[in-house]
């Protein structure tokens, strides 16, 4: 088990924190490397589902980064650090819970063969996708079928993320109209 940090370590981290606020990249790297394991342990103790730990840990570091200007170097670092960490953990878990509530477990979805028998949803989706203009179709395919991130898909299409969002959005609208028209 990693020993708890002593006062000297906290003071040294507070100094690093003050330097990173002034833009010292090396101090920032050292600070995150030294404090990271403590925060990781903090997150691991608070998150029941261990698969979520790396994601929550990322969230903690990102929040720490965004809130770094609020640390006052004349004050102890611990309360600031753990307040940010505790709230980030709670926020991340809350968001994950909300997302999980809206998610449909895959085991509850009917098999694709069954869909085909029942109403040919796969075929209809395929036709609706095929009916899209080239740009919109490619945007939808990259994002929803190949599962690329916005940045990756935009790079592959050689357009900006904003333009990709517009194309994908128009594609979804077009498909919705096509599918609803068929449903009537």
């Amino acid at each position: 088990m990693k020993p708890l940090p002593n006062n000297l370590q906290w003071e040294s981290w507070a100094k690093l924190m003050a330097r990173l606020q002034e833009g010292d990249a090396e101090a920032y790297r050292r600070f995150l490397d030294e404090v990271g394991p403590i925060l990781y342990g903090f997150v691991r103790r608070r998150v029941f589902n261990q698969e979520l730990v790396p994601d929550v840990y990322q969230e903690v570091l990102l929040t720490l980064h965004k809130a770094r200007h609020t640390y006052d170097p004349t004050r102890p670092l611990g309360p600031w650090l753990f307040t940010v960490a505790r709230n980030s953990v709670l926020d991340a878990l809350g968001r994950n819970r909300k997302f999980a509530e809206k998610e449909v477990p895959t085991e509850k979805l009917p098999e694709s063969g069954k869909i085909k028998e029942e109403g040919g949803l796969d075929d209809q989706l395929h036709l609706a996708l095929e009916a899209l203009p080239e740009g919109n179709r490619r945007a939808v395919e990259l994002l929803k079928i190949r599962g690329l991130t916005l940045e990756e898909a935009a790079k592959e299409m050689g357009i900006s993320v904003a333009a990709l969002k517009v194309r994908a959005h128009r594609g979804y609208q077009h498909m919705r109209r096509t599918l609803m028209g068929k449903g009537k």
Binding site: Q21, A25, L32, A67, R68, H69, D72, T83, N87
Partner: protein, 230 residues
């Protein structure tokens, strides 16, 4: 449709995730302007808000000092309103700075003071001869209701401006305390102007607007004070 980033899972990836994230964060390093200390923020808000409210009050014309100073419940009421505003402002500022949150006792004390303030018109001041008439108080006290809103609005904007640089981890509560502090200051100022010390009027025209405006202020705060995380 919601965008989801690709996730790595398992503790084994921890070091890799840490290294990648640290690399990204370090590459974004630049000097940051530190936030002012809570004391300075509080003093700045009180000074600016007090100045603006004082200016408008001077324009409206305060009631004679003798009418207030000779009336102990009136002095207590005004003192409680000002103290409540100051405590709420401190709470709003503290709640928006990580590691500077006040304790539960402080919050209980502040809420208790506001509740006592709300009850004071019923405890220490005479009611109108015809009894409590909500609609009558609303129509006769319309100028006070409007004045309370207007006098509290500028302190609220100032508070939002000051808090925008902070990093609130509980934006709704920060917004609620910010609204309470600003509109209590407005109620304090309007009570200095309005010569009526009658229960119904004080409650409906001076205190109820505070309660009603604090809630939308909290909702606005929930949105505005969470922007720093996006």
């Amino acid at each position: 449709m919601r965008k989801r980033t690709k996730k790595k899972s398992g503790a084994g990836n921890a070091a890799g995730i840490h290294a990648a994230l640290v690399g990204r964060l370090v590459s974004e390093t630049r000097p940051v302007r530190r936030t002012l200390t809570p004391g300075l923020q509080w003093a700045l808000w009180f000074l600016l808000s007090g100045g603006s409210v004082g200016f408008f009050l001077a324009t409206l014309g305060p009631q004679a000092a003798g009418a207030i100073l000779g009336n102990l419940p009136a002095v207590l009421f005004l003192g409680a309103a000002l103290l409540g505003s100051a405590l709420a402002a401190w709470e709003a500022i503290s709640s928006s700075l990580p590691g500077r949150q006040t304790g539960t006792l402080y919050r209980i004390g502040a809420v208790g003071l506001v509740l006592v303030l709300m009850a004071m018109p019923f405890l220490f001041f005479p009611s109108a001869p015809g009894g409590f008439d909500l609609m009558g108080c609303c129509s006769s006290g319309w100028s006070c209701i409007r004045g309370c809103c207007l006098l509290g609005f500028l302190p609220w904007v100032l508070m939002v401006f000051i808090l925008s640089r902070n990093a609130s981890l509980r934006p709704f509560w920060t917004g609620l305390w910010a609204g309470l502090s600003a509109f209590l200051l407005g109620a304090f100022a309007i009570q200095l102007h309005c010569p009526s010390w009658e229960t119904g009027h004080m409650f409906v025209a001076h205190l109820l607007p505070v309660a009603l405006l604090t809630f939308p202020a909290a909702l606005a705060g929930a949105y505005w004070f969470s922007r720093w995380r996006k």
